[in-house]
């Protein structure tokens, strides 16, 4: 049953090395960062705001242009691609956003199919006559995440959790080799956000798809991830199994965070447990 969704392919590997990003003249946001992600792991990146989580994720598909370093996805070096090559390469990376980033006035189906825009002809994009395979694939994925009956609804008629499911399906429509999720649950209520997290975890193993998630909520990260990466000031200072993340390490990752914000992080740890 799931055979159609999962693509048979060799083990996926994303290898980031010595990645550096400067904005303007200030301190670099990312400092010679190394990270390797493989297989069907769900990796959570945690850290206080400003640690560089979002920049790291956006450097991978070059929504943010890295200053130096290397990003290698299964043998393709991303940092040296020209515009045209980059467009083709970006199809291989799915991305899910904090604000869902859907097109409100279009139907769910159009939003989902916009994940295929890199593949289909301009004419079928314009006339909304999508290839049969894509439509079948879209219905299968929408059914999998429970939004198939919304195909003809406008995206802005959906609830937050449903909208994020549309975002996930749009990313999966690309048949990506890796899925990036930038704070996918930060705009959702706690219950919905757990549903989305467990959906992402299940999809990772069903589709043999590595997933990298930026996340604020440490409890959720610990519960759903196979691996946790802790960032601080543009560097990785923790990289291990979730159960290895102790209070001491938490303190180090979030050190220097004002007491109020730390209390909030602590509270979310307590509330989730």
């Amino acid at each position: 049953m799931r055979g159609r969704l999962a693509l048979v392919r060799k083990t996926i590997m994303l290898k980031i090395s010595k990645l550096t990003k400067h904005y303007g003249s200030g301190d670099p946001v990312l400092k010679e960062l190394d990270l390797t992600v493989e297989g069907d792991q769900l990796t959570s990146v945690i850290g206080s705001s400003g640690a560089g989580k979002s920049t790291l994720l956006r450097c991978i598909n070059r929504l943010v242009e890295p200053t130096s370093g290397s990003i290698d996805l299964n043998g393709t070096e991303f940092t040296t691609l020209n515009r045209r090559e980059l467009r083709a390469a970006r199809r291989r990376i799915g991305m899910v956003f904090q604000g869902f980033n859907l097109i409100d006035r279009l139907t769910v189906m159009e939003n989902v199919q916009s994940g295929r825009l890199g593949y289909i002809s301009t004419w079928s994009a314009l006339t909304r006559r999508y290839p049969r395979d894509d439509i079948r694939h879209a219905y299968e994925l929408m059914e999998r995440v429970g939004i198939a009956h919304y195909a003809n609804k406008r995206a802005d008629e959906l609830s937050g959790g449903e909208r994020q499911r549309v975002g996930v399906v749009r990313a999966l429509m690309q048949r990506p080799e890796i899925l990036l999720a930038d704070e996918p649950t930060a705009s959702l209520d706690p219950k919905t956000s757990e549903q989305i997290m467990s959906l992402l975890r299940d999809l990772a193993s069903e589709l043999k798809l590595p997933v990298i998630i930026n996340i604020h909520n440490v409890t959720e990260a610990k519960e759903y991830s196979d691996r946790i990466v802790g960032m601080r000031y543009g560097r990785i200072i923790f990289d291990d199994l979730p159960e290895k993340l102790t209070t001491a390490e938490m303190d180090e990752i979030y050190a220097g965070v004002p007491a109020m914000d730390r209390a909030a992080v602590g509270a979310s740890v307590g509330a989730g447990a």
């Binding site: 598909n61 970006r90 980033n101 859907l102 409100d104 279009l106 749009r170």
Partner: protein, 270 residues
């Protein structure tokens, strides 16, 4: 503070504004009076005519009554022509203004040169009035409806392009980012992430301009560019005042009709 102000007015030590505010107010008032005095003192009018004008206007109005409907068929035909001028010109202008809006919006313009070309088109189109455009195109195309359509079109491009450009600048950038991440080409991003967001503004602006163009089309005929204005000019030139008033009534009806239609469309589409 405003609501208690009238009652407190009776206290003798209270004042509503600070000294600076009061100076600003009196300054503004004095400046206005000065300007009015200057304008009245130096304007080139024959004051006897001014004092006589109420009688003159009453006289003209008297001669306009009652309106003469005998020429109604050709008036209605000219009205139909007027509607066509406004509609066709709006349609064409909308299509032409799209690329202009695209290159003159900060966030979609391909480069600075295009941005300035776009802005130049918008400013020159907007600053030159329809009538002046009409004078030019009547000289080029000869008198008639075509000159009128082109004139209205030229004037509308600036208006539509400016408002559409502003709508493009106000879009939410996030869907654009999402489609960039999907590897979509620039044109498809415009198609999927920008066009749907600009659509409501697009229709609102087009309807608004159609309504304005309906009004503008009524005067094109006065410089020979077709429509009801031609009949009006003819009637005025032959001192056929009852027909003038008939034409004015028809124009009034046309404009009210235009407002009803455009507010209906606005409600229906948005």
């Amino acid at each position: 503070m405003m609501s208690t102000q009238p009652l407190q007015d009776t206290l003798d030590h209270w004042s509503r504004f600070t000294l600076r505010q009061r100076l600003m107010r009196y300054g503004g008032l004095a400046l206005t009076l000065l300007l009015v005095g200057w304008a009245l003192g130096s304007i080139d009018v024959i004051w006897e005519w001014v004092w006589d004008s109420p009688r003159q206007m009453g006289d003209l109005f008297g001669r306009m009554m009652p309106p003469d409907p005998s020429n109604l068929p050709s008036i209605l035909e000219a009205i139909w022509q007027t509607v066509n001028i406004a509609t066709l010109a709006t349609m064409v202008a909308v299509v032409v203004s799209l690329p202009v809006a695209y290159i003159s919006a900060q966030n979609t313009t391909p480069n600075r040169v295009a941005l300035w070309i776009g802005r130049f088109i918008l400013v020159s189109s907007r600053s030159v009035n329809t009538i002046i455009w009409a004078l030019l195109f009547v000289a080029i195309f000869g008198p008639g409806i075509v000159a009128g359509i082109v004139a209205i079109m030229f004037r509308s491009i600036g208006f539509l392009g400016k408002l559409l450009g502003e709508a493009i600048e106000e879009i939410d950038h996030k869907p654009v980012e999402a489609l960039e991440a999907c590897g979509a080409s620039r044109f498809k991003i415009v198609l999927y992430a920008i066009v749907p967001q600009v659509m409501p503004a697009f229709f609102a602006v087009a309807i608004l301009r159609w309504d304005i163009n309906l009004r503008e089309s009524t005067v094109l005929g006065l410089v020979g560019a077709g429509g009801i204005g031609m009949i009006l000019q003819g009637a005025i030139d032959t001192f056929n005042w009852p027909e003038v008033s008939m034409v004015l009534l028809t124009i009034l009806a046309l404009v009210v009709f235009g407002e009803v239609v455009s507010s209906y469309l606005r409600k229906k589409i948005l």
